[in-house]
């Protein structure tokens, strides 16, 4: 009976140690990636190629999602506010929630699903097919050649995508509320212009999206680089990327919101 209990305790201890080891490896890995990012200035073509596959190819899902999120929010808040005669506030409500929360968070979640998983799978497959060790044999540093451009592309793309998401969302809300429901377009634009602050709302939203992009890309490239080089291990790594990035994004969003908008 005691044997079973001690086995359990050993299991818990081993798991704890394993996760801390992973965390330590991930931190060292991050430092190496950041150190290799400096070389990208010399080879911008690598970065541009990754900006294409990480940023441009994610654009369509971001635009479509932003449009519909904005339209649905406008519709819902219109029906809620029209009872109080406050439907003029739909514009400011949609703009504030998009800029502060939904823009960065939903973009980051979609980004983790669309671009993060692809990064993990790509790097993981390179590891499984021994392309990474092949590069090392040829004295090409895979950190600089493969990992750093993908990481930087993620960090750069996220704020751009989040900005596009928010702008498209506001336009979607405009289409629904002004064109379909007949609200005055002056009221729709003037209320946000009074209430939305360039620094407090727009810049803080951008800071959030940079932070999310940093974490999501970090997790994605690390999971790929650290995966078990089998088809099963690759699948697990891709799943972990999406799950861990999503959880990290939501948790960080709470922390950042508490820091930024607490006063």
């Amino acid at each position: 009976m005691f044997g079973g209990l001690i086995d359990r305790i050993q299991y818990i201890g081993a798991e704890t140690l394993r996760s801390f080891q992973r965390l330590g490896r991930a931190s060292v890995f991050l430092l190496e990636v950041i150190a290799s990012c400096a070389d990208l200035v010399l080879k911008p073509t690598l970065l541009i190629k990754q900006l294409y596959s990480v940023g441009v190819q994610t654009l369509i899902i971001i635009v479509v999602a932003g449009l519909f999120v904005g339209m649905v929010m406008a519709l819902q808040s219109y029906y809620a506010l029209v009872d109080f005669g406050a439907e003029d506030s739909v514009g400011v409500m949609v703009a504030l929630s998009l800029l502060r929360e939904l823009g960065p968070v939903v973009t980051a979640l979609l980004f983790a699903g669309r671009a993060g998983s692809a990064l993990t799978a790509e790097i993981g497959l390179m590891k499984a097919t021994e392309q990474l060790s092949g590069m090392e044999m040829m004295a090409v540093n895979p950190m600089r050649r493969i990992v750093a451009p993908r990481f930087m592309a993620g960090v750069i793309s996220m704020p751009l995508l989040a900005t596009i998401f928010s702008a498209v969302g506001v336009l979607g809300a405009y289409v629904v509320v002004v064109q379909l429901l007949g609200l005055d377009s002056g009221a729709f634009w003037s209320q946000p212009q009074n209430k939305v602050d360039l620094y407090l709302d727009i810049y803080n939203g951008l800071i959030k999206s940079v932070a999310f992009g940093f974490v999501a890309s970090w997790i994605a490239v690390f999971e790929g680089y650290d995966c078990i080089p089998t088809s099963e291990g690759l699948g697990q790594a891709t799943t972990r990327t999406v799950v861990h990035s999503s959880l990290a994004i939501l948790f960080m969003d709470f922390i950042l919101t508490a820091l930024m908008f607490s006063k």
């Binding site: 541009i48 294409y52 441009v56 703009a95 800029l99 751009l160 900005t163 702008a167 506001v170 212009q193």
Partner: protein
């Protein structure tokens, strides 16, 4: 895909993001009211500012002419000192202009309202408005109302 095509698409992506940022900054946020043109600063002393906040609007005749930039408490005179920047194009307020703290709507947010006076001299940068009316504090009004009610009952 050729690298030229890729570069063009990335360029379009970055341009779209910059355009989106400017669209948000110009037409959704209050950037147009930031430092657009010159402005001058005016101070006003109030007994009670109620719910006035930094960045609350300053209005004359219902038109926004500036913003509250700073609120301090002067512990020597026991007054709140409100600093405001007024746009330079509205530089013809007489020195006996009155400032009062008003509420937009029943539950709306509070703003500083200017009521122009009749003097020939105009307010300049750094001037202080002395004719002020404090915010109406709902609790005090209710208190006064209840007090006057009980007075009425006694006299009856």
């Amino acid at each position: 895909m050729t690298s030229r095509k890729i570069e063009i698409l990335v360029g379009l992506f970055v341009a779209a993001a910059i355009a989106a940022f400017f669209m948000l900054a110009m037409s959704v946020s209050n950037m147009s009211s930031y430092g657009a043109g010159d402005s001058y600063e005016i101070k006003a002393r109030f007994d009670n500012i109620g719910g006035l906040k930094v960045r609350s609007p300053v209005a004359a005749g219902g038109v926004t002419i500036g913003r509250v930039t700073e609120i301090q408490y002067n512990s020597d005179t026991y007054e709140a000192v409100v600093s405001m920047t007024i746009e330079e194009q509205y530089n013809k307020f007489p020195v006996d202009t009155a400032a009062s703290i008003l509420t937009s709507g029943l539950l709306g947010e509070q703003f500083v309202g200017f009521e122009p006076g009749a003097e020939e001299d105009f307010l300049k940068n750094g001037d202080v408005i002395d004719l002020t009316q404090s915010a109406l504090v709902l609790e005090q009004i209710i208190g006064q109302f209840l007090y006057s009610q009980s007075d009425d009952e006694k006299t009856e």
